[in-house]
Every structure is written in structure tokens, then in C-alpha cells.
Symmetry: C2
Subunit: 426 residues, 2 copies
């Protein structure tokens, strides 16, 4: 395992030295000109003029959809879905492998050290993420479209996949995904929930992404909203990661809060697909929910850049609440880091001794940081992710000075997959 000594780096406005060993922040001390004995033999990195931040935790992705971004732009949803489904009908392991690698490369270059994925061929996605060094939670996705034979097949496949988990690395975990209340039958929702609870797996689910989902659910389930319906089935709890949670009643908010659900906002996707624009961040947090941030898949959002997602989230919250003081920067930062880590059950998301060493190193030598304002305002509101020059994930450099070792290979692998896609699209 790497031993790294980050010398003279800025942390919350103070100059510190950070010693990382065994993947953990072993010591964080005020900067001194001398290197301590404990750090001898470690790689010493002079970080003068640089600032350290926790790595981002992207709490909702469909990673391999990087290879579908830009398909069907400026189209209505039904036309767009036709384009996506034409490709998804031909998904295979190489597509998932290279699509996830491209996603991981993009996440690394934009400061993300961990992500929570809902897609297909998850052991392959896990392998791609592990190879480049990102923490990942991947899932078996249930989507039976109310077909009992599909449900049976998926249960078997999930169990088989779960059996491979013991061989996975320490920064990869396995979860189950219930795609949504409009694509998964009630018996299957109940089975998945029981299976997850029995095995201690997180449950990842799309909830209340569109108004139509809520209207249709109330019709189908005796007036219950998606939140009420899932709660009536016993699904909701602190082990649930709920993507979107956009169209919520006051009662829904109360339920999500009291069940301590992890609610993931994906602003760029919501705006671009015209799903909705008002995530009730304050209300959910006040009720007891753990609010997190994600990007959604690249086919809808259209990138995996958490810094961009932070800015859009903040300014849209201010606009929707008619209050420029809404969603202050420290709260926003937690949504993008510590809250996500908490949802994943990871001892990460903070730059503190004893936490896993997941961090970004920021170069502030640009116009974007030339300002009398605080670092965090410049980072979120002014800068772009190219200010993130290096990334350490689980105590290892995965990017140094904007260079990712496997970048060229990943871009070539991704392009080769795109060539194959061209034939499908015809």
C-alpha cells in the first residue's frame, strides 16, 4: 500500500502536512519544515499553493451510459427512449467494461473518488472501477416489467452474482436496485427488500422522478404516492438510496425523513429532461433524510461532473426559494462528499485522521480563485473541474497533475465500442 506525505497543503485555510498510510489519513498536523520520522520512506509531495478537499461521492450513476451521451438531444422523452433502447438491446460485457472505464476516467478528472451505480453486468462495472482505483457500489438491477418469469430469472441471476462478491476488493460493494415502482412488480419489490435486509445490502431505487410517476402510482395503488407505496411495503429505511425524490408531498417528506432515507438530487438530469426543478433539500434534511448529490447517467445529464452539479444545485435552490442565501456552501459540500460516504457506509468523505484517504488536490493559480471571497465560493461558483489537478482514492494517486495513467488506453477502448454502436444505430 502507498505511503504518501502531502507537505504544506491548505486545509480549511490552514497550512498542514498530511500523512497517508494503509489508505488512511494517519496524521494531519500543522505544516512544519521538517518531515516527521513516521513519514520517512513515504513519497513526499510538495503541495505549496494547493488546497485539499474530500473526493466527491457521486450517489447516482448509470456509468456505462457514457457511451450513449449526446444521443437524441433536444428530443421529447419518447423519441429519446427509442434511441436509448435501440442501443440497450445490444448491451454486452465489453460495452459495460469500456463504458464504465470511460465514466471512471471522467469521474477521476472531475474529482470523484466514489460512485453508486445502477446498471447492468455489475461485476464487469466493478472490475472497471477497481482497475482505475475508484470506490464503487454496483448493484443487481431488478426490472421485471410485471412479468413473473422475468422476476424469477432476475432473482436467480442476482443470487448468482451475489455469490461472486467475496472475491471483490475492499472498496467495491454490492447492492440491489429496484428500478422503480412503475417497472417492478410488487412481489419482486418484496422479495428484493427481504433479500437485501437478510444480506445487509443497500437498496438503490428511483423514486418520484417525474410528476407522471406519482400520478400513475396513485392511480395504481389506491391513492398512494411512490414514497407511501414503498413505505407500505416496508422498503424504506436508512439502507435505501433513493434517486431523484423530486415530486414529494409533505407526507412523503415526513416519511423519507423518519425512515432516514438517503435522497439523491440529480439537478442537471432533472432540468435537461424537464422532469422537474425543485428538490426540497431543506425540508428533507430537516425531516431527517440524508441528502446527497449525483449526476445520473451521461445519456441524460450529460456528464459526471460533481463540481458542475454542485453549482447548478446551489443556484437553482436559490432561485426556486427566491432566496440568495438558500443552500449555503458548507451544506452543499456535505451533500457532495460526507453525506454520500455515509449513505455508502464508507468511512470517508472528510479530511480527518482515521478516515479513508479520498481527496482532491486543487490548484488555485487561475483567475477563478483570484478573489477576495472564500475558497469554497471560488471552487464551486467560479472554477471548473480542471482546477482539480490530482486525486487520491483509497490512499493511492489515481491522477497526478491532470494525468491518469490509463487515459489513452481508455479513450481508445471507448472509441472502439462506439464504432460498434454505429452499426446498431442503423
Amino acid at each position: 500500500m502507498d505511503r504518501i506525505f502531502l507537505k504544506n497543503i491548505t486545509l480549511d485555510g490552514r497550512q498542514v502536512d498530511i500523512f497517508i498510510s494503509d489508505g488512511i489519513f494517519t496524521s494531519i498536523t500543522p505544516h512544519s519544515c521538517e518531515t516527521p520520522l513516521a513519514a520517512e520512506g513515504s513519497e513526499i509531495v510538495d503541495c505549496s499553493g494547493k488546497t485539499v478537499m474530500p473526493g466527491f461521492v457521486n450517489m447516482h450513476t448509470h456509468a456505462a451510459m457514457t457511451l450513449m451521451r449526446g444521443i437524441g438531444e433536444d428530443m421529447c422523452l419518447s423519441d429519446w427512449l427509442d434511441h436509448i433502447w435501440a442501443i440497450e438491446a445490444h448491451l454486452d460485457e465489453p460495452f459495460i467494461y469500456w463504458g464504465t472505464k470511460v465514466a471512471a476516467l471522467e469521474m477521476i478528472k472531475t474529482g470523484t473518488t466514489a460512485f453508486n451505480d445502477m446498471y447492468w453486468f455489475s461485476p464487469i462495472a466493478r472490475k472497471a472501477a477497481e482497475e482505475v482505483g475508484l470506490r464503487n457500489m454496483v448493484s443487481f438491477t431488478f426490472l421485471d416489467n410485471f412479468d413473473p418469469s422475468a422476476a424469477e430469472h432476475q432473482k436467480e441471476s442476482c443470487i448468482a452474482m451475489h455469490e461472486t462478491v467475496p472475491s471483490w476488493g475492499p472498496r467495491s460493494s454490492f447492492a440491489v436496485s429496484i428500478h422503480s415502482v412503475y417497472t417492478v412488480s410488487e412481489p419482486l419489490i418484496l422479495w428484493v427488500t427481504e433479500y437485501a435486509r437478510k444480506h445487509g445490502l443497500k437498496i438503490h431505487v428511483h423514486i418520484a422522478e417525474t410528476e407522471k410517476e406519482v400520478v400513475d402510482c396513485r392511480k395504481a395503488h389506491g391513492g398512494l404516492s411512490p414514497v407511501e407505496y414503498l413505505d407500505s411495503l416496508g422498503v424504506l429505511g436508512p439502507d435505501v438510496i433513493a434517486a431523484h425524490t423530486l415530486w414529494l408531498s409533505d407526507k412523503d417528506i415526513e416519511i423519507l425523513g423518519s425512515r432516514k432515507v438517503n435522497c439523491v438530487h440529480n439537478i442537471n438530469s432533472n432540468l435537461k429532461l424537464a422532469s422537474g426543478n425543485f428538490f426540497k433539500a431543506d425540508e428533507l434534511a430537516a425531516a431527517g433524510a440524508n441528502i446527497c448529490l449525483g449526476t445520473d447517467g451521461c445519456a441524460s445529464s450529460n456528464n459526471l461532473d460533481m463540481l458542475e452539479a454542485m453549482k447548478t444545485t446551489a443556484i437553482v435552490q436559490k432561485a426556486m426559494r427566491h432566496d440568495p442565501a438558500a443552500l449555503p456552501l458548507p451544506d452543499l459540500l456535505k451533500m457532495a462528499t460526507a453525506n454520500g460516504a455515509k449513505a455508502l457506509g464508507a468511512n470517508s468523505g472528510k479530511i480527518e485522521e482515521g478516515y479513508e484517504a479520498d481527496l482532491q488536490i486543487i490548484d488555485t493559480d487561475s483567475t477563478f480563485f483570484l478573489s477576495p471571497g472564500p475558497f469554497l465560493a471560488n471552487f464551486v461558483y467560479s472554477a471548473h473541474s480542471d482546477c482539480i489537478v490530482s486525486l487520491i482514492s483509497g490512499g493511492r494517486f489515481v491522477m497526478r497533475d491532470r494525468k491518469v495513467p490509463a487515459e489513452r488506453e481508455i479513450l481508445e477502448g471507448g472509441r472502439a465500442e462506439l464504432e460498434l454502436l454505429k452499426n446498431i444505430d442503423k
Copy 2:
């Protein structure tokens, strides 16, 4: 004047050679392996794998406010204004010079070749912009706060400033700014309008930025909205550049359209200050207005990045209209380029023979462009401005491979000014 031959560059999906001389696109021809006689002696630049786009035209800035960005974040407007005014009380020429230079550097690094500025000490701002090679329209700003003696003083100052214009370079122009209906008296609005029309100057004005502005205006002016009031004074016409135009009645839209006013949307500023969120882009364009894009000043927006402004504009339009097909990419691109050039009266904003050579060169070798979708979707929705590797403004390179010659000097000059600000803030 530079003579440049851009060889094998992608333009609208085709490979072309572009010859630039005397600041103009002299020829654009299908790529050939041979260099034509006309281009002999010019600088030949191999652009294989790169894409050309028109430079952005930022139609609403307060450029020198770069030095105030990040002040008073997450505060309500009145507290924020206290912070801004404490600094603005001490504005001087060095502040404007270095603030505008920092702004110009940021605009260059984010693909902008022309900007329309409303701020103080305009000849100094013009000098700063000219030195780094950006087209600029700067203005004398009228803001008398209904004080007749201030109005008289400003008239004299404007005339004196206008007299210096003949010595300005060909890519700098002089305009007048009427700050707003709530800060400029009626007699002064009338005088400025007459002065502008007599001398062929554009009129830059904030209109209907906030709901309060509209409510107050209707109270003060017999029920007239800001648009109706300014129209009743004869202000509105195709020579008017109206920033914001957010809070509009149907009648306002009809007036702005029939007067062919240039309406500038500044989405990030509008959202962040919670001014409003629904720019009626389609309605204004259909009525006959020329819709453009801007960033506003850095103290509110908080950067000058037009590519970021394009993405936010597009996705917010889709969300507000509940239509993912709203504001298609080609229309959005025009807002950020050709429409702005038209408003400035510049023969620019398009990559066509005979137009001024204002262009960006885009490097697509990244995950953001690894997609089956069109270039424009990747550029706007996925990528960030660091994909813009080179910029030619008025036929001259102002950035090459992300390097701007004066960058180091500008950052140092800006930082020295910030040191002085610290004393003021206390």
C-alpha cells in the same frame, strides 16, 4: 497584421482549410493536402483532430468586478450590496485596469472574443481589453440617483470621454449605459437617448431584472412597466442592448419585439441572486427581438464562462417549459455568437468568408466528446471550457494551446489589487 492558415480543421462536420488575413476569413475551402499560393508566407497551423467554432460574444458584463467575486456569498441582496458598495466607493483606474485584464484573461480562456461592458472608467477598460486583443464595447454609465447635479456632471463627463473615442482601436467601441429606470432620472434618460441617437451610439440598459423593479416602476410611472416606460420615452430601438428582460408581460414582449431590441439573458446571475428564472427566449425571438447571452459581472454570476452559461440556459429553458426539446442547440449557439455580434454591429459571429476572424479551436480528445452524439451536444452539455485550446480574435492568436502570453503578469497585477482591497474591506 497576422496571416494564418488553419489546416485540416473540422467545421460543421467537414474538414476544411481556413485562410485568415487582414483580420478576415479570406478563404474557407475543403481540406487539401497542398497549401495554396495565397497562403504562402502565412503561419501554417495543423489543426487535425480539432474543431473550429465562432468566438463567444458576452453581451453583458461588468468586467472589473472580477476582483469582487466571492464577496458576500450566500447572503441576501441588501447585505451583499453593502459589501459591494464598500469596495465600489474606492474604485480607481488601477482597479479597473487590472480587474478588466483579469476578466479579459478569463474570457479568453473560456472562448470569448468580444464583450459588451457596463462599468466605470471605460477608456481604461477599453485599454485593458485592447492590450490582450478582445473586441469590446465599453460605455459611459449614467446613474444619477435622481440628483440633478449628478446628472449634469455625468453629461459633461460623458461628452469628455466621447471626445477621446477617435483615438481608439478598430475593435473598441463606445456606448452609453442607462443603468436602470430605478437609478436614472427621466430628464437624464431623455438626454442620454438623444445624445446616443445623434452620435450613433448603442444604449446599454438593465431592464426588468427583478420583480420589485417592475412593481416599483408601475407605482412610480402611472402603471407602466419598465419596458412600457422606456418605450414611452422613445428609448427602445434596435440600438438598445437590454440586459435581463426577465419579468415581462405579453405587452412588454410585443414592444421589445416590434422595437427589435437586443435582449440579453444572464441565467447564472439570475438564478444565483434569486432574481428570477424564466427568460422568455422563444416568445421574444418570435416577436422580433434579437436574443443574446451574457454572464453579468463576476460578483454575481461568478465567472465569465459563456459555455457554462449556454448549458445552464438550455437546461433551465427545458425545465421551465416542461419540454426537453425546448431551445435547440443551433438556436442556443446563435444566442452566444452571431446574435451578440449583430447587436454590437460587428461583422462577426460566423465562420464564413468575409467575416472577421473571431474563432475558438476545440480539442475533442477527451471523454466529454467520446460519444455517438453530435459535436455541439458534447461541446455544450458535456464539456467544459478547458476544451477550448486556442482562440483567434480579430485575426490574431490571443491564446495558443491554453497559453495566454500575458497570463502571469495579469494574475500578479490582479493579486496586487486584491491586497489593496483588503484594507478597504476593513
